[in-house]
Symmetry: C2
Subunit: 409 residues, 2 copies
C-alpha cells in the first residue's frame, strides 16, 4: 500500500494492540552505509567496532516512554532480517549517481551475507536513558545505526500518539501535511532552481510518514526533487538514491590511529579519504570536512582533495560553511561553480506566521547566489515536522535528537 | 466504518471505477422533513406536489460535469430505499428536544410506508442544467428534496475530484480539516457559551465528509455542540437531532390558497403555523418569518405567535434579523431573553489570513450580546468548506447553490 493511501491516524491507533514491526527490510536504511561499506570491506574487513545509542535530548527520559521489552521486540525483529535475493539483485543492478556496476561482486556478496550482530540493552535508571550497544565486524555493526534510530524514534512517536484522541491525531496529521505542502510550494515559487533530497530516515516520525513525505516532495517539486537517502523508499517510489560518506568513517579511522599519537590521528582523516578515493568513483567523492573541525581540516588538506567533486559540511551554519568551501576551492585554483556543495544541517523552510529555525533553505540558497552548485538534504524538519501540530498539546511531538555512534574500534 | 477513520482521498479515488451509492438510508435526510411531515400527514394527507431542482449557480453547467446516466443511477438507487424496521423503531423511540412519543403511531406507520415517487430527468442543452422533478403525495415527494441535493452535490464533488491528482486530493482534505478545526478552536476560545448545530446535509461535499465534520464538532466543541439536522448521522454518532420547519410549508400553503386570491395567500402563512401548532409541542414551534418577507409577516402576525418558542430567520443578514425578532417579542410584551433565535443563513467563522464572508458567527453572537437565546446552525461552510484548498486549482471545489422546491401544489 502506498504511503499516501494510508490513514495515518488509524494506523497509529492500530499500533496499540499488536506488534507492528518498524523495520521490515534491510534496505530500509540510508545509502551512505552502502557507499561507506565498499571502502570498509576493502580496507577494514576485520575491524571490530561498537555502536552505541545516545539521546542528546536529555530531558526526554526515553525509558519512561518506551518499555524496554517493546524496544527489544523491535530490535529482535530487525535482527531476523536479511537482504532478500531480490534486494541484492536490486543493489547490484541499481545505478548510483548515473553509475552502474559500481560495486565489485565480492562486496555485494559480503553485503548479502551480513547480519545484524547481537545487541545489549539496559535502562539507566538515573538518566532514564537506554544503554543500547552492539559490537561486531564494522561491516555488520554499522548497520545498526540507522535501525537503532528509526526504531527508537518510531517507538517514541507511538508513545506520544497513545496520549492523543483519535481526533487529535487526525488533525495533527492534517496540519503536518498542510505545513509540509506549504513549504514545498514556497520552494517551487521562490527558488525554482533549488534541488533537494530527502535525508530524514534517522529522525523520522515513522516509516509511513517518511514515505508520504517523499511521495509528496516528488509530486510537488518535480525535477527539483533529486532523491532520497533511504534505499527502500528509493526503490519502491522510483526515485534516485542519494548518499555520501559520514563522520563515522573519520571517527573509526581516528580511533584506529589513536595508539600512534596525535599526528597519526590528524593524518587519519586524510588517509580515510584516500582509501575512499581508491574505491569510489568521482561522483561519490564528497568529503565531510568537520568531524574534528573544518578549519584545521582545510588548512592541512592534501592537494588531491581539490579534485574531489564536493563538500558536505554537517556541523556548521550553512552559509558560513559555504563560504569556507568556496574559499578552499578558490585557494586551490578550482572553480567553485563546478563543485558540489551538499547542505543538510537542520535545514527547514520558513513559513509566514511560524517561527523560523534560522536555517531557511531558500535564504541560504540566495546567500550562496550561484557561486557554487548548492544542493540540499532535508531531514528532521521534513520527516518529523510535527512540532506544535497537536491540538491542545504543544508539548508533544517535538523530535528528539538521538544518534548512534561508533564508540570503540 | 466511522467517518474519521476514512482516508477521504482514497475513497474519492475509488469512486472512479464503480458505483458507490450516495444515499444509503432513508434516514440520511434532515429531521425537519420528519417534523413537517407530522402536520402534512394530519392536515394534507392527499395534497399532491411537485418538487424540482434548481441550480442557482448558473455559471456551473451541471450537465457538463455530471452525466445524466450517473445521476439516474444514483436516483434509482435512492428510490429503492425504504425505512428499515430498525430505523422505524428508532424514529419511534427517539426523543426530540427532550420529548419522547412525539409522533402518533398513525404518522410513523405512514412514514414507514412512504416511498420516493418516480422522477423525471432531462438535460436542458441550452442552460446545461438538469430538469429534474418528481410529483406525488406531499408526504412522499417532499422526501426527494434532500436526496436530490445530496446526490447532485456529491456527484459534482466527484466530478471535481476526478480532475485532481492523488496528492492534490490528499492536501485538499488535509487543508479542509485544518481549516475546520481552526474555526472550531476559535469558537471554543472566543465564544465558549455559543451553541451550534450542524445543518449541512443539503450542501455537503459528501456523506463521509459530513460525518467527519460532525464527529469533529462533537469532539472539539463538547457541550457547545448541540446536534445535527441529519437523522442518520445523529443516530450513528449519538448526537441530538435538530430541525424546525422550512419555507416549504408556507410555500405549499400559499400555492394551495392561490385560487382564493391575495388575501388568502397572506393568511395562509398563519394558517400553516396554526396547523403546526396543533400538531407539534412547544419545543418544536419555531417559525420562519421570511418566506414572503419578514416585515409584513411580523406586522400582521396573530397574537398567539408571541407564545411560540422561537424564530428562525433564513434569508436576511443575521444581526438585522435578530433585531427584528427582539423588537417583535418586545412589542408583544414577551421577554426576548426567554426566546430562542436560530440563525443559519450562510454562517461561517472568520480565520486570520482568510477573507471572511461577512457572516462570522462569533461576531453575530457578540452583537446580539445575550439579548435573546441565540443558537447557530452551521451549513455549507462546515460541510462543504473546500474553497481554495486544492493546490494549484483555486477554481475547483467552490460549493454550488442548488435548491429543490415545491413548484406545483
Amino acid at each position: 500500500m502506498k504511503g499516501s493511501e494510508m490513514d495515518f491516524a488509524k494506523r497509529a491507533h492500530d499500533h496499540n494492540y499488536r506488534m507492528d514491526p518498524i523495520v521490515r527490510s534491510r534496505l530500509d536504511s540510508d545509502a551512505y552505509k552502502l557507499f561507506m561499506g565498499a571502502t570498509i570491506h576493502e580496507k577494514h574487513p576485520m575491524t571490530q567496532v561498537v555502536f552505541q545509542l545516545t539521546n542528546r535530548t536529555k530531558d526526554v527520559r526515553l525509558a519512561d516512554h518506551i518499555h524496554v521489552d517493546e524496544l527489544r521486540e523491535q530490535l529482535d525483529h530487525a535482527q531476523t532480517l536479511r537482504y532478500t535475493p531480490s534486494e541484492i539483485i536490486h543493489l547490484r543492478g541499481q545505478s548510483y549517481y548515473g553509475h552502474t556496476g559500481l560495486f565489485k561482486d565480492g562486496y555485494i556478496d559480503r553485503v548479502a551475507a551480513s547480519r545484524l550482530p547481537d545487541y545489549e540493552v539496559s535502562v539507566n535508571e538515573e538518566t532514564g536513558q537506554f544503554d543500547l550497544r552492539s559490537g561486531g565486524a564494522w561491516m555488520d555493526a554499522k548497520e545498526w545505526e540507522i535501525h537503532y534510530l528509526s526504531i527508537v524514534n518510531e517507538l517514541y512517536t507511538r508513545s506520544q500518539l497513545r496520549q492523543l484522541s483519535r481526533a487529535q491525531m487526525d488533525i495533527m496529521y492534517a496540519r503536518a501535511k498542510v505545513r509540509l505542502y506549504a513549504k514545498l510550494e514556497r520552494i517551487v515559487r521562490e527558488a525554482p532552481e533549488l534541488t533537494i533530497s530527502e535525508f530524514g530516515t534517522r529522525r523520522r516520525h515513522s516509516f509511513l510518514w517518511q514515505r508520504w513525505v517523499i511521495e509528496t516532495m516528488k509530486d510537488v517539486l518535480g525535477r527539483q526533487f533529486v532523491g532520497t537517502s533511504n534505499m527502500l523508499h528509493a526503490k519502491e517510489l522510483e526515485v534516485d538514491v542519494k548518499g555520501t560518506i559520514a563522520h563515522e568513517m573519520s571517527m573509526v579511522y581516528a580511533a584506529l590511529a589513536a595508539p600512534d599519537g596525535p599526528q597519526a590521528i590528524r593524518d587519519s582523516q586524510y588517509r580515510m579519504l584516500q582509501d575512499v578515493q581508491s574505491v569510489l568513483p568521482e561522483d561519490l567523492r564528497i568529503f565531510l570536512p568537520d568531524t574534528f573541525g573544518t578549519t584545521q581540516f582545510l588548512e592541512n588538506a592534501p592537494t588531491w582533495l581539490q579534485w574531489w567533486k564536493g563538500f558536505r559540511p554537517d556541523s556548521k551554519e550553512s552559509v558560513e560553511a559555504a563560504e569556507e568551501a568556496i574559499g578552499f576551492w578558490r585557494r586551490m585554483g578550482q572553480d567553485p561553480k563546478k563543485k558540489l556543495l551538499i547542505l543538510s544541517d537542520g535545514l527547514d523552510v520558513d513559513l509566514p506566521g511560524e517561527p523560523g529555525n534560522g536555517a531557511d533553505m531558500i535564504a541560504i540558497h540566495k546567500a550562496i547566489g550561484g557561486r557554487t552548485i548548492d544542493t540540499y538534504g532535508w531531514g528532521t524538519n521534513a520527516s518529523n515536522g510535527f512540532r506544535g501540530t497537536v491540538p491542545g498539546r504543544p508539548d508533544l511531538m517535538r523530535p528528539i535528537s538521538i544518534v548512534a555512534k561508533a564508540v570503540e574500534a
